[in-house]
Amino acid sequence: MSGRVDFDSVQVIDVSRHFGRRRALANISLTAHPGDIVGLLGPNGAGKSTLITMLATLAAPSKGEIRYGGQPASALGPALRTRIGLLAHELHLYPELSARQNLTFFAELYGLDPRALVDEALESAGLADRGDEAVSGFSRGMRQRLALERSLLHGPRLVLFDEPFTGLDDRAVSIVADRLRRLASSGAIVMLATHDLDLADGLVTRVALIRDGRLLSDEPASPGLRARYRAIVGGNAVAGRPDGGGH
């Protein structure tokens, strides 16, 4: 592997991004360190996913810069991507392949020995018995858990979750929440984008409120999160619920 890249901080420095005439993000600045679970909270379409995509080096900011341990992604090269894990809204799974084949492919893609890792991942995703079934036959919850394991296979330093709880029942939500806490305590930088207030409440260590591409507040999580969220984001905070999934 081309040298171990590691970083102890992720800095978003005055980042803006627009698509043609639509501004997705305006002057976002925030920093995260190992052990943080930063909640990117905001209604749908606030620009959370755009920020997550840019943090994952899949898109470049129109203005401003993102630094990993003080260095820009361009300086760190492809090796940086071994330290980034992304669970996107679209789950990034091949429906035709089985759960085991999906995990094996991505493990090898990251240059890891798949055997031990895949079984362990299937176990913690609760899919050990269905490892050889095609993913197309899985429910949304099962796919979500499988995709979660896939994004953590290579032990990333920076873990990016975009709406990780959609389609999960309460039991699955608490499993995933515990998994995040364990990750953070083991030194990962976790950034969680969601519009679902209740889930984030007990989990995140810091909250960044984003609306219409603008960072409204960035402060440590405190019990009064819900009231403050509604006060800042305005009455329709709850209205931002997804149509089916979530709580």
């Binding site: 627009h18 698509f19 005439r21 501004r23 470049a60």
Partner: protein
Amino acid sequence: MRKAFGPLAAITGLMFAGAPFMVARAPYESSMGLVQKIFYFHVPSWFAMFTAIGVCGVASLFHLFKTSPRADRIAEAAGEIAVLFGLMGLVTGPLWGRKAWGVWWIWDAKLTIALLLEMTFISGILVRKYGGPGSDKLAAAVGIFGLAVVPFVYQAVNIWRTIHPLTSVVPTLPATMGGPFWFCVAAYMLLLVVLLMMRVNLGKRQAALDELYLAYED
């Protein structure tokens, strides 16, 4: 640059005004007679088209790797203007061919090459129009590939078909014919520069409008 536009446009206009006089005074060609004089408007349009393709290719390369909006505007402008000059060539060519070879369109090498390049750069415009956000990078790829394919198109089509007067005729032009020819080439090149400046300016204003929309949203 901006203040140079006025005089440049004036000179271009004057040169285009003077071109017919120059061409009219040029000698008669023995075998093809008067129709050969289309040569003075047909060939320079290729010179201008290939220059525009070159500008578009280089600007696309710059935009793709350096993501500079300015290079993108120049690439878009040069792409459009390459299509314009290509159109001129593709119309004046058959007009000349009609008399000289008796038929409007023949699969002659030069015309086929021009047609292929014209289609390539029209596809560049189409991708900008229908490609949605991020299509400027895709158009840049078309610009680069369009430039890279020119030698291959030349080679393949030349070997395949050619009854076009060899391009070697240009250097052997006598002084009395050379004069008006290079005058027309200069006029076309100036027209290219003037159109480029106008189109880039349009691109700049469009970007300013987008900027205003963004500012308006803030």
